[in-house]
Every structure is written in C-alpha cells, then in structure tokens.
C-alpha cells in the first residue's frame, strides 16, 4: 500500500483538493481477499472551517479562534494560532493533526458500518466501528502518514500526502466496512493548561462496495490526498 498513486480525474480535471481511498482486506492467513479504490467525495464544512481559522490568523496574536462541529455534535472552539507573551512557556499546538496512535479511535482514519448519504454538515460517521476486540469492534492500528511530494507525471501536478491505517478483526465474527472518515484533532496548550482539545470530522465517504473483514483478518485503508499545485 505504499506505491505512489496518480490522483487524476479526467471527468473533472481541476480540483484544488482531491483524494482516493484504497482498501485491501486480508484473511487470517495474510491472503488478499478483497481490494478496491474509491474516489473521495467527502470533504465537509469542518474542513473549510479549519482552513479559514488558520488563514485568519495574524501570526503574532494571542489567539485566533474558529468554530467547528465536534464529533459529539456540539459546536467547538478551535484555534489557528496561540501565543503567550509572558508568564507561561511550552505554548503552541497543532490545528489539524491526523497521526493517531494505535488503539485511538477518536482521530485519524476511522471506519464504520453506516451507509447514510454524505452531507456537508456531517460531524461523525453514521455508525463508527469502535476500537476493541469485542463484538462489532476492530483493533485500530497506528496511523502512518507519508509525504509523497509533487507528482509531476500527471497534469496539472499534484502534491500527494498518503495516510494509511490498518484495522484488525480480533472478534469471532465477520465485520463489514461501509464508510471511511478522516477525523482531525485541534490541540493547543501551554504550561497554564490545555486551551483546545477538539476532535472533528473533516471527510466522510460511503463506499460503493462493502468490505467484509473475516475473523483474524484485517483491512488496510490508504487515503491519498492530492493538492493540485499547477
């Protein structure tokens, strides 16, 4: 799942942001039993809102804030910048982190079983498959993110970022994946404490094919985001 994917859609030749989802399912013996590719159709209002919050920042302001709908459905304050001019240290953060650790199902790539149609206002998967080994759960692996740089083999060139996560079924039943989401974390703090710790959905895709992960099997989801740069 580490190859450089061409991110090009002849039917819509220019999009500032685009992406592909590749899914590969293996059985307990490691054999590939199902695989597929889907174009992303999924960025939502939260994605625009966090971009605007960052762009609205001044660069030397105490704080620049914006608002998203958090994954609980409530409005949440996010930051595009955060400073202290005196009194505290270790000040900073990150606006749109995706690099979740193994076992964390609150951000990074998430999977679900829901099939409800996409809407720009969505703030969570329709039916998230939670991390775990109990019935209906999958073990979330580490999220790995690779900067693939500019792909000049396509026209216009595309800057590619690949996000990969594996999900293992350690239950005794087959689990079906119908939806894939990207959830980000906006986290800011100083020695005075945490000022923002918000997880929010930025993309959700309902897959045109269901993926069945057998007991002891796994699904690896690779999302390649392309930023058109020419």
């Amino acid at each position: 799942m580490s190859q450089i994917y061409e991110v090009e859609d002849p039917s819509d030749p220019y999009e500032p942001f685009k992406g592909w989802i590749d899914i590969e399912v293996r059985d307990g013996e490691g054999r590939v039993v199902q695989k597929g590719r889907h174009k992303m159709h999924s960025f939502n209002n939260n994605f625009l809102a966090v971009l605007l919050t960052m762009l609205s920042s001044i660069g030397n302001n105490n704080k620049t804030t914006g608002s998203v709908t958090g994954d609980s459905g409530s409005s949440a304050t996010i930051y595009g910048e955060f400073w202290y001019y005196s009194g505290y240290s270790n000040t900073g953060g990150t606006p749109i982190a995706l690099n979740a650790s193994a076992g964390t199902d609150s951000f990074g790539i998430l999977v679900g079983s829901g099939t409800g149609a996409f809407s720009l206002t969505q703030y969570s998967l329709a039916s998230k498959i939670s991390n775990g080994t109990s019935a209906g759960q999958m073990s979330y692996g580490v999220t790995s993110i690779t900067d693939l740089g500019v792909n000049t083999s396509v026209s216009p060139p595309v800057y590619q970022i690949q996000i990969v996560r594996a999900f293992t079924n350690q239950t005794s039943s087959t689990i079906t994946i119908n939806e894939v989401g990207l959830e980000a974390k906006n986290y800011w703090k100083s020695d005075a404490g945490t000022v923002a710790n918000v997880t929010f959905l930025i993309a959700r895709d309902v897959l045109s094919t269901s993926y069945s992960v057998p007991p002891n099997g796994s699904a690896t989801v690779a999302i390649t985001i392309g930023v058109t740069v020419g």
């Binding site: 685009k18 920042s57 400073w83 240290s89 000040t91 990150t94 720009l120 930023v227 740069v229």
Partner: protein, 203 residues
C-alpha cells in the same frame, strides 16, 4: 462533492474579473502534510524545508511548542495588517506562468504611495456553511495613491509561520499564485479588491 477555488477582482467596487483559481504551489502541500503528520501529543513535531519568499531555505513545522517569552505557534497565517506586504494577499505586475515551485510573485507591487506602489489594506473573511453548498473567502483591498495608473497581472497568497521561542522564529512562504487571464488597471486613487474563495458543493 465538488471543491473549487475562485479569484474575484473588483475595481472601485465593481467586479472586473472572476476566474477559477489554479494557484496552489507546493509549499501548501508541505505545510498540510506536516500538520497531518502531527500527533497532537504536546511535543514539537518534525520539520520540513521550504523556500521562503526571499529564496532561502527555511524550516516549518506542523506542530510546535515554544519556550521562553514570548512563545507560541501560528502555522499558516495570512491575515496581515494594513501596510504589511510581506504576507497576506499580495499583487504584482509579472506575467510569468505559474509553476508549482514558485516561492514569490514574479514582480510584486509593494506597499506604499510611491511610483508603482499600492497601499495594502486589511483583510476581511467571510463564510457560509450549508448542507449542500458552502464557502469561505478571504479578501484584501489595495489603493492606488501613486499618482499614476498601475497594472496588476498576478495575485498571490503568502503565509506566515511563527514558531516562536524567546520571540524568534518567523517564516514567510508563498502558498498560492495566479496570473490573471486579463490584466487589471488600477487608476490613480482607484481601489482594487482581491478575493480568494473556496467552495464546496454536493452537486
């Protein structure tokens, strides 16, 4: 879902140009990649090298925590104050075609009231979020107080990253540049407004 970018140019309040923005350069891919790679762990993340607007290599971060006073982080600030031409929306007279490796405008028109200069105003932002269509905008106004007409052929966005410990750490980097299909002439005492728009729609 469709996502599109637009540039709208107004002259003395009247729209004179509207074109699809095909303007991002590789630096925006690098900063987004770094931010995505962040783990929100409370520790400074990895850095990457970009070419700043002066043409020199500089390090940028996706997650950063400073020390000393002042300290803080702004990864991709564009909201420059009036009179500042080192970041924010900028305009120029160059017409060299855009490439992904651009790190500055071909020929930036600087802030001022002298010959060939425009007075850089503040930025404004707006947004609208719906279930089937949404947009965000960022705009800046430029006033010609030079005494002569000035031709604008290119527009861009320069971001500022301040990853600051003890007050130092400031990088300006180009994230977008567009050459206008039709140049716009700003007469003396005329006002130019440039708006970048990003739209999402489900149709």
């Amino acid at each position: 879902m469709k996502i599109k970018g637009w540039i709208i140019v107004e002259l003395d309040g009247k729209e004179v140009y509207r074109g699809e923005s095909r303007s991002f350069v590789q630096n925006i891919g690098k900063i987004l990649s770094l931010m995505f790679q962040s783990s929100a762990s409370g520790s400074t993340g990895t850095s990457a090298t970009i070419t700043n607007t002066s043409g020199y290599s500089a390090s940028i971060y996706g997650e950063y925590y400073g020390s000393g006073t002042p300290d803080g982080f702004a990864p991709m600030a564009v909201n420059a104050p009036a009179g500042t031409d080192s970041y924010g929306i900028v305009v120029g007279s160059g017409s060299t075609p855009q490439t992904y490796s651009d790190y500055k405008l071909a020929s930036q028109i600087y802030n001022g009231t002298g010959a060939g200069q425009l007075s850089y105003g503040t930025h404004t932002t707006s947004s609208s979020y719906g279930s089937t269509s949404s947009y965000i905008t960022i705009s800046r106004t430029f006033t010609n107080q030079s005494g002569s007409a000035i031709v604008v052929r290119e527009v861009g966005m320069i971001a500022r990253q301040t990853a600051v410990s003890n007050g130092s750490g400031d990088v300006k980097y180009l994230i977008a540049r567009d050459v206008l299909a039709n140049p716009v002439t700003v007469n003396n005492l005329g006002t130019l407004t440039v708006t970048y728009t990003l739209t999402l729609s489900t149709s």
